[in-house]
Symmetry: C2
Subunit: 178 residues, 2 copies
DNA sequence: ATGAATGCAAACTATTTGCATATAA
DNA sequence: TTATATGCAAATAGTTTGCATTCAT
């Protein structure tokens, strides 16, 4: 088993301390957004739903975030003129984006849901530091393989899965030692 | 890898369709409860908290359930004379039971938390059928081993973890075919 | 005796929904 | 033109909390 079997991706922030992609030096290109929008349009057409400016705006803001965010964060971000978007619409559209496969839901020990963009990213799992409330992403082909195998034997049709490990990250552990 | 590496345990009910252990033929013995209570007493003493009848009652009802249940389910179950227990106390005590390691929190796609007894049971993971809302438990030493390994390399101090696979169970898939 | 545990009701947070209006098709 | 999408505000659901009272130590 090689070292790169599980590689840390980016330590993303969860909880209420969220940053916009622009601040974290993330590179969410216009092409990526356009491509995702193309997918979403297809999804909407298939469903007989309408292609609206509001939906485009929400998609853009959701995908430009490279970190975990909450519905409430987007609501706040989009509560500015011109073209402010209402709370209800944000919630409704986030659900559509999840159904379209452009976002995925993540839950931690908080009451609320977090979302994270899935577009153009592989499946990955999370370590969640209960102290600094950051997510550290990792992927491990073997965990995925085992999950697949279990589902096969149980004849369980897998839609998606989630692996979250709760604990204390290295940085917080160090800080605690001092 | 042998066949019993991942064995189904009991398909337990989640969502709002919950049954009491007594109804499902589960065998939660008095000794088990007493033993768990002993642990809880120890936990309470360590924390300088008090040992009360109310806490004992909540522990008993929580542990007698072999399935996943919600705080609201316990609130309802304990809302009967004599010795009815209030909503606030149920919530407060469930948190203590989690801290004491006697229950564990599980979240699915719903807004609310589920709890399940951990006492006398090994670590296990969940398949969650989004159709019938049942949990199917399984354990897989390799998944656990990989999680441990990832944490070791990331120097992440693991407290606990959760693996949930969402999809459709065999029974629901069959039913859908017809 | 005294501080923690409890009951109660109200507060809070996240999310959903009904309805009038605006907008895409 | 007509049905869907949206904004708005109110409703809902789950959970938490302040405070007076009860109870364990």
């Amino acid at each position: 088993m090689s070292e790169q079997d599980h590689r840390p991706i980016t330590p993303n922030r969860g909880g209420s301390r969220l940053r916009h992609a622009a601040e974290t030096g993330g590179q969410v290109t216009g092409e990526l957004i356009d491509s995702a929008w193309g997918d979403f349009e297809g999804f909407l057409r298939t469903r007989g739903l309408r292609i609206t400016q509001t939906r485009r705006i929400i998609l853009e803001h959701a995908l430009r975030r490279r970190d975990h965010f909450r519905a409430a964060d987007l609501v706040e971000e989009l509560d500015v003129e011109p073209r402010r978007v209402s709370r209800g619409t944000v919630y409704r559209t986030l659900k559509l984006l999840v159904e379209a496969g452009l976002l995925r839901e993540v839950r931690d020990t908080d009451v609320h849901v977090h979302y994270e963009p899935t577009f153009g990213r592989g499946e990955h799992e999370h370590l969640f530091c209960v102290e600094c409330r950051r997510f550290i992403e990792f992927s491990d082909p073997q965990i995925l393989a085992r999950i697949r195998e279990v589902c096969r034997r149980q004849r369980f049709q897998r839609h998606m899965h989630r692996v979250v490990v709760f604990g204390r990250c290295e940085r917080c552990a160090r800080r605690a030692q001092r």
